[in-house]
């Protein structure tokens, strides 16, 4: 009878052990996925290391996994690949150096252009003298009557 008691005990022990294992494995896999999704597969260049099944990508995933197990942070792992392949290996290039110009350049030009346009428009407004009453009603009485007549002619109930 005593032996029979051991069986469920072992079963519980083993299942709990194995679930703990898979949990860790899942977490690890999740982190491998996060890191390798930010890396470009150097052979199939439009794919990430995570999506690609090229041998190089598989090997790179292995390296990501190994380094994660060794306790390296995602940034440290990315830095390793950048030191080997350059910025090229990052799917989302860093905002740094010349890249910064590409990231910020258009916005900078938009701000400069906007400021320039604003100042020019304001200057035009300031430079244009307010119109005199004569200029505001340049149409003579004859023309005004003619226009009114034309508009009346356009009214639908007529």
């Amino acid at each position: 009878m005593k032996r029979l008691l051991f069986i469920p005990l072992f079963l519980i022990l083993f299942t709990s052990l194995s679930t703990a294992q898979t949990l860790n494995e899942d977490q690890l896999q999740q982190r491998v996925r996060e890191v390798s999704k930010t890396l470009r597969c150097a052979v199939c260049q439009s794919e990430s290391v995570w999506e690609s099944n090229a041998e190089l990508a598989i090997q790179m995933r292995d390296i990501v996994r190994e380094r994660l197990i060794q306790g390296e942070s995602p940034d440290q792992i990315r830095a390793y690949f950048v030191s080997r392949y350059g910025d090229y290996i990052l799917l989302k290039p860093r905002a740094f150096g010349l890249n910064l110009l590409l990231w910020g350049g258009p916005f900078l030009l938009l701000i400069i252009g906007g400021t320039f346009l604003f100042r020019t428009l304001r200057k035009w407004v300031a430079e244009t003298a307010p119109a005199s009453p004569e200029e505001l009603s340049p149409i003579d009485e004859k023309s005004r009557r003619r226009i009114e007549q034309e508009i009346r002619g356009l009214e639908p109930d007529k």
Binding site: V43, E55, L56, S83, Y85, L101, L102, L109, I112, T120
Partner: protein, 193 residues
């Protein structure tokens, strides 16, 4: 009069700055657009060559780069399935033959993403005169930023990578590698980079 003149000069300055900025960006984008999108910059050139550890293709021993310290090392990444490697193979043998007498020269093959028996078969077919290390799980090639074969690195006596050649060593590339890279390094007449 003087007051109305000065703001227009200021605006002209703005206009010039704007024009220069736009032109600069256009040039930058243009270069980005028409550059080779497959080009991976050789970031490792000028830096210390990463250490290599891997099994020898033929003998049951480990090969490391540090064992060749003080020598000029030419590292050639190749594979039996690689067509362009066949193009350069005779030139590799010629390089080995040319510098074999020099004790300060090492040509080391790195067998990339390959099967051991296929690699040996390839060498048997095409000739073999130098040492080869097997790149297990891509550790060596990824450490060297290799993304295709053939790729060749020239490492100087101090372990610094002096040159990276992407693609086969044929024609002018062969002459350049032998006469402008390896020979000056061996003679100590290479220009310091």
């Amino acid at each position: 009069m003087a007051e109305t003149k000065s703001p227009s000069v200021g605006i002209r300055g703005w206009q010039i700055a704007l024009l220069v900025g736009i032109l600069g960006l256009i040039i930058l984008f243009y270069k980005g657009l028409w550059g080779n999108p497959n080009f991976i910059p050789p970031v490792l050139v000028g830096t210390q060559a990463p250490e290599i550890t891997g099994p020898d293709l033929y003998q049951p021993k480990e090969v490391s780069l540090s064992q060749f310290r003080g020598k000029v090392v030419v590292l050639n990444f190749w594979a039996s399935w690689c067509l362009e490697c066949k193009l350069e193979h005779q030139n590799l043998l010629a390089i080995q033959k040319r510098f074999a007498q020099n004790p300060n020269f090492v040509l080391l093959g790195v067998n990339y993403q390959d099967k051991e028996d296929l690699a040996r078969q390839y060498l048997q077919e095409h000739g073999n005169s130098f040492e080869h290390v097997r790149d297990v799980k891509g550790r060596i090639s990824i450490d060297y930023g290799v993304y295709g074969v053939p790729e060749t690195f020239v490492i100087d006596q101090n372990g610094v990578i002096r040159h990276k050649q992407i693609g086969p060593i044929v024609g002018e590339t062969y002459t350049f590698l032998v006469e402008r890279m390896i020979e000056p390094l061996l003679n100590g007449t290479a220009t310091t980079s």
